[in-house]
């Protein structure tokens, strides 16, 4: 008897859930079980109607898929690349004058002797972690060295910052999260150098157009936030830092444009958020 009741409850629940029948239909079919069947089915419907979880949001479904598949792709790539060809790690400090000179010499020589043209073109799409990437960055160093005005430097540094963000975007799309940090570091480095140049040099007003700076900053934030959506949790801190850096650079350039001194702006300080009370300086120990 009990096993029949177990079966009937389960069967009727299925029919009610699919919408084929109502509780009353089931009760009519099994009138002898009405006293047990009716309250239990009604309770099941009530529990489902009040406590059943919602479906995931469409945005989550889409973004999570990108993140999951990017990580899967990265793990597949790293597994196969380790076996087939170990990735070579470049540890060159390009800020070192010695290395800059050496690389500049090599690249200039390569450019002069023709074969460098192909190399330069090939390296244009290189990403952090690629073997041609150092050539690309060295080429940028040379471009910067050959620019003789602060205005030219600033234009180039904005270009390099954009380039680093494009790299970050591509790396996140390809699931190469280990190399993402290098692109973000490069972005912050470009913004930091840009601030230094703006601070030191006599920059023409037309090159520090506030509207243009704001537009560039907004574009940077858009790209960084897009990348942030595609990367796993552990990679987001670097992006948040880059977002903060971009905001700070905008503030510095704004202060310079207004004829002020940016030295009072600490990294992360954003004067455009008045709702946050300024923290009192801690007394020096």
């Amino acid at each position: 008897m009990n096993s029949k009741l177990d079966w009937v409850i389960d069967e009727c629940l299925s029919r009610v859930q699919t919408g084929d029948e109502t509780v009353q239909d089931c009760v009519q079919e099994y009138p002898e079980l009405k006293d047990v069947l009716e309250p239990l089915l009604a309770l099941a419907i009530q529990v489902n109607g009040t406590l059943a979880p919602e479906e995931p949001s469409a945005q989550f479904v889409h973004n999570a898929k990108l993140r999951v598949l990017n990580q899967v792709k990265a793990s597949v790539t790293s597994t196969s690349s380790v076996k087939v060809q170990p990735k070579r790690v470049w540890r060159i400090d390009f800020r070192s004058r010695r290395w800059s000179t050496i690389i500049a010499g090599v690249v200039i020589a390569a450019l002069l002797f023709g074969s460098g043209i192909g190399m330069k073109q090939a390296s244009a799409s290189a990403l952090p972690g690629d073997s041609l990437y150092p050539i690309k960055r060295a080429g940028e160093e040379i471009q910067l060295a050959l620019s003789f005005t602060p205005d030219g430097d600033i234009a180039l540094l904005f270009e390099f910052a954009d380039s680093r963000l494009e790299e970050a975007q591509t790396l996140s799309e390809e699931g190469r999260f280990d190399d993402l940090g290098k692109a973000l570091e490069g972005f912050e480095e470009a913004m930091s150098t840009l601030e230094e140049v703006a601070q030191k040099g006599e920059v023409g007003d037309d090159k520090l157009d506030l509207a243009e700076i704001k537009a560039k900053h907004e574009k940077h934030i858009q790209v960084l936030e897009r990348v942030r959506e595609q990367v796993p949790e552990h990679a987001r801190a670097g992006i948040d830092h880059a977002i903060e850096r971009s905001g700070h650079s905008q503030e510095v350039l704004k202060v310079i444009h207004e004829g002020g001194k940016p030295s009072d702006l600490a990294p992360g300080q954003n004067k455009e958020k008045p709702e946050k009370p300024e923290k009192k300086e801690k007394p020096e120990k």
């Binding site: 629940l13 299925s14 009040t50 406590l51 979880p53 479906e55 995931p56 898929k65 597994t79």
Partner: protein, 186 residues
């Protein structure tokens, strides 16, 4: 063309391809089971955001463990469910705050009158209290069979019991819940 073909493949074929490193095959499995895994986790945690993070982790861990997965009659959805359960255990261990599933849920109805809202809230509260008082085995079958509306066969696969055992469990769980709700309303 390839995309169309891949979407028509059964789980076993997709798993085979995913094991060979075909990301798109794993993407198909993700699309197939995301909703049920998310909704299951959502019955166990208090916030959408937590459920989203855990769901994502379930799929990543599943891919990592895919080489060890052998079908042997175990559906892939049941495999994902096992990964989700293990992950929830870790989650609660870390947080030290196992929130009863019942209090994690939201009311799905929008009453137009305040009186209706009070009545519904009372019902929801009594259901929650009733569910909290049940043994975990009963709560789990109610989550799967009643809240997620999984079929008896799927439930049996997920919890590793026979279909007959699922029916018995459901009957007992619903009877126990009814007793608890009556008690809560007294």
């Amino acid at each position: 063309m390839i995309e169309d073909n891949i979407h028509t493949l059964d789980d076993a074929r997709l798993i085979e391809r995913a094991k060979r490193g075909e990301v798109e095959a794993f993407g198909c499995l993700y699309e197939r089971y995301l909703e049920s895994i998310y909704r299951y986790i959502r019955t166990r945690v208090a916030e959408d955001r937590t459920a989203e993070d855990l769901t994502e982790t379930v799929f990543l861990r599943s891919f990592e463990s895919l080489s060890r997965y052998k079908e042997k009659g175990l559906r892939f959805s049941a495999f994902l469910y096992q990964v989700a359960r293990n992950l929830l255990v870790d989650h609660y261990r870390q947080k030290e705050e196992e929130l009863p599933i019942e209090s994690a849920e939201q009311i799905n109805v929008s009453p137009s009158r305040i009186d209706d809202l009070i009545v519904i809230q009372d019902k929801v509260d009594s259901l929650r209290v009733g569910l909290e008082a049940l043994p975990e085995e009963y709560r789990e079958i109610i989550r799967l069979r009643v809240l997620l509306e999984l079929s008896t066969t799927e439930c049996a696969q997920w919890i590793g019991r026979s279909e007959g055992a699922v029916r018995v469990l459901l009957h007992r769980a619903m009877k126990a819940l009814k007793r608890q709700v009556v008690k809560a309303n007294e």
